[in-house]
Amino acid sequence: MSEGAMAVVKPEMKSYIWLQTADGSIQQVEEEVAMFCPMICREVVQTGMGSSKNYAIVLPQRVNPPILGLILDYCRFHQIPGRSNKERKTFDEKFIRMDTKKLCELTSAADSLQLKPLVDLTSRALARIIEGKTPEEIRETFHLPDDLTEEEKLEPLRNITDDPRIRLLNRLYARKRKELKEREKLKTVEAEEERVDERSADDLLSYINSGDGKGVRANKSKKKNRRRKDPSKDALSNKVNGDHDEVEAVSTACSHGEAKDLEVASPHKASKLRDSFIGTFSPKLEFDDGDMDDDLDPAMREELDREVEDFARRLNSDWPERMQELLCLGPPESKLLPVHINGTSSSCACISLDRR
């Protein structure tokens, strides 16, 4: 029978199935379309439901009316046996063009109706959306809250996301740190007294412990700065060397994951890196919350800001040429050797950049 002839057929000749969605509304659907869903098919066959309005099949909660409409569109097209594979593929490609929120709802709904072909289609579509995006982009696309603390982000999955870019970033940091130390040495000659941290190890410990704990986001970058400051302190004040060893040991123990905080989980954390990066170069040794960067010359700070931004930008842009460029900048660091920042014997567990 051609399509035209079908239209002439009286409505009573077609049989319908009654479906009830989670919001209580009931609708009738052509039988062959509804039966394309295994779950509906089973309900009809096993329990006989769906034959009239009073005995509508109750659909799972995830299936609301608009989503049901989409699913039925899909079923309506695919249940016709005569379609060619090419036709089906073309339809599918057009069908999944919808916003990601709907796509997610559709996936869940199709799964609850056990409509496997649609589940496969939507899963692949979602995977395609996720693939190739940075974490920020993915969060934006799917409206995910960025609710992991810094240390949680850095927990042992580093190696999976290990990236030669990060190693290079580390090396750059190392070089910068060295440079800074030269400058600091000049500075601290003048104002060494102020630089020396007179607090006992206990104080330091208790401060660290209070600064630890569940990620209060405002503190996180500062916490990282404190960790990183330890080695620079060592270089400058031998007096508290012993204390520092303890401090470092504690800090290492507190957060084994954190210690490698330069090897971040994503190369695109440029902004966060920058925050902590700036703090690192402050020669101030007190564990004050604020005013970290005060002692830095505004000029120097700006310069550092600029350099890091520049670097971050380059990271995000075309990689291979940049790699070449960067490698030319500093020969000693471009070898893959472990770089220990401070000359003292204290365990550089906090900073050991290249452990490969």
Binding site: L126, H143, D147, P320, Q324
Partner: protein
């Protein structure tokens, strides 16, 4: 940002696994930093595939750490952090050298009921499979490349193994036989190099592929076998008939494969089958054979006779594909071949509908067979011809146009030559 908008985090776990399975493993694991809910979504990934994508190296190659170290670390961490059962573990990295770490991974996999293992060692020494692998109970699919398999005496078999692909795995014929006999459910078997003599006895086997420098093959009775691909990559130096002198190799092979549906004879396999007295006919019909692929030397009378025998005994045969193996065109055979075809004019091969010929260069033997086929196939629908090169095409066209056709609906289709330098128009 409210939770209302975040629909994806609430997708059921098994669907999330499916979505993450579509991503390369690196990206799937990176989703762990998206948000609190996503921290461990990846850890139930059913399939772990470690390949070149895992260690994408950019920049100056000499400065890259060895991918071995990287890959070892990655696999260690992934296996450690993974939860639940693993369905498939695949390691196929083109720059990875076998190390003892693989032993540890296999031990770990034995504890998580892995079903599919694919292990390709592309570089360096062959990897010796540890004995723990032989104790896997749930294994259904095993694929090995460049490994050494020494079957322990305590090996009871892989009771659930359905698919076994061994490429360049050194096994003696006895060991291979022992291995196969202890896998009762084996359905798909592929051997690529590694053994020279095979005797396959697997009663549930449905799909078989043998490619390598074989000297001899033998099959036990395999009633379920539907598809066979045989590729003898070495020329038959000395024609050795089978033990039973009255039997040709052809008969020897096919007496035990009654239900075969698809047969592919690559390289010198047809020459092997043609050894011995080529029979006029086979005792049993190959009732289910539908598709035949042959790599043939059109100059070799024995081979052609073998093919004719096969076609005659296959009432359901729909499609025959020829690929020319001849390296040199011997023109002195023309007369003999022409006579040959004269004698066989009376053949009527009713069943064949699709024929294809590739690697054609327009020599007389090829033309003769094309003439023959066109004249003897009343149900022919298409004959597809792919010449070797552009040169000589004109002559080919002219000759073909002359040939009589038994089938009024036969289409003769010319494809672009195999030789890619000769681009048409």
């Amino acid at each position: 940002m409210t939770n209302e908008l975040d629909k994806i985090s609430n997708i059921p776990g098994h669907i999330m696994d499916q979505i993450l399975s579509c991503l390369p493993i690196k990206e799937a694991v990176r989703t762990s930093i998206l948000s609190r809910k996503w921290r461990y979504k990846w850890s139930s990934l059913p399939k772990l595939v470690f390949d070149n994508q895992c260690t994408v190296a950019t920049g100056v190659p000499s400065l890259q750490p060895s991918p071995n170290e990287n890959l070892v670390k990655i696999i260690d961490e992934v296996l450690l952090l993974h939860t639940g059962t693993i369905q498939k573990f695949m390691l196929s990295h083109k720059r990875f050298y076998a190390t003892s770490n693989i032993d540890h991974w296999i031990l770990h996999l034995s504890r998580v009921s892995v079903k599919e293992i694919v292990l390709h060692i592309w570089k360096g020494n062959y990897y010796k499979i540890p004995t723990t692998l032989f104790n896997f109970q749930d294994l259904t699919h095993l694929e090995l490349l460049r490994c050494v398999v020494k079957i322990p005496s305590t090996f009871e078999g892989w009771k659930n193994l359905k698919t076994l692909y061994l490429s360049q795995v050194k096994l003696s014929p006895d060991e291979l036989e022992a291995l196969i006999s202890r896998c009762p459910l084996l359905k798909n078997l592929s051997l690529l190099k590694g053994t020279e003599q095979v005797n396959i006895k697997a009663c549930n086997l449905e799909w078989l592929s043998l490619r390598g420098r074989f000297q001899d093959v033998d099959f036990g009775v395999m009633n379920c076998l539907k598809s066979v691909t045989i590729g003898f990559s070495d020329d038959m130096a000395n024609k050795r008939g089978p033990d039973n002198a009255n039997l040709s190799n052809l008969q020897k092979i096919f007496r035990n494969l009654p239900n075969i549906q698809s047969l592919k004879l690559e390289d010198y396999s047809l020459k092997y089958l043609a050894v011995g007295n080529v029979p006029q006919t086979l005792p049993d019909e190959l009732v289910h054979l539908k598709h035949l692929f042959l790599c043939i030397d059109f100059n070799n009378v024995d081979e052609i006779l073998t093919v004719m025998c096969l076609i005659k005994r296959s009432p359901q045969l729909k499609q025959v594909d020829f690929q020319s193996r001849a390296e040199n065109q011997q023109t002195e055979w023309i007369r003999t071949m022409a006579d040959f075809w004269e004698d066989h004019q009376s053949y009527c091969l009713e069943q064949v509908q699709v024929v294809s010929m590739s690697g054609i260069c327009g020599s007389m033997p090829e033309l003769e067979i094309m003439k023959f086929l066109l004249a003897c196939l009343p149900k022919l629908r298409t004959m597809t011809i792919r010449p070797n090169s552009m040169s000589g095409e004109g002559k080919l066209f002219r000759e073909l146009l002359r040939f009589r056709r038994a089938s009024a609906q036969a289409e003769v289709i010319f494809l672009d030559p195999v030789d890619s330098e000769a681009k048409p128009h």
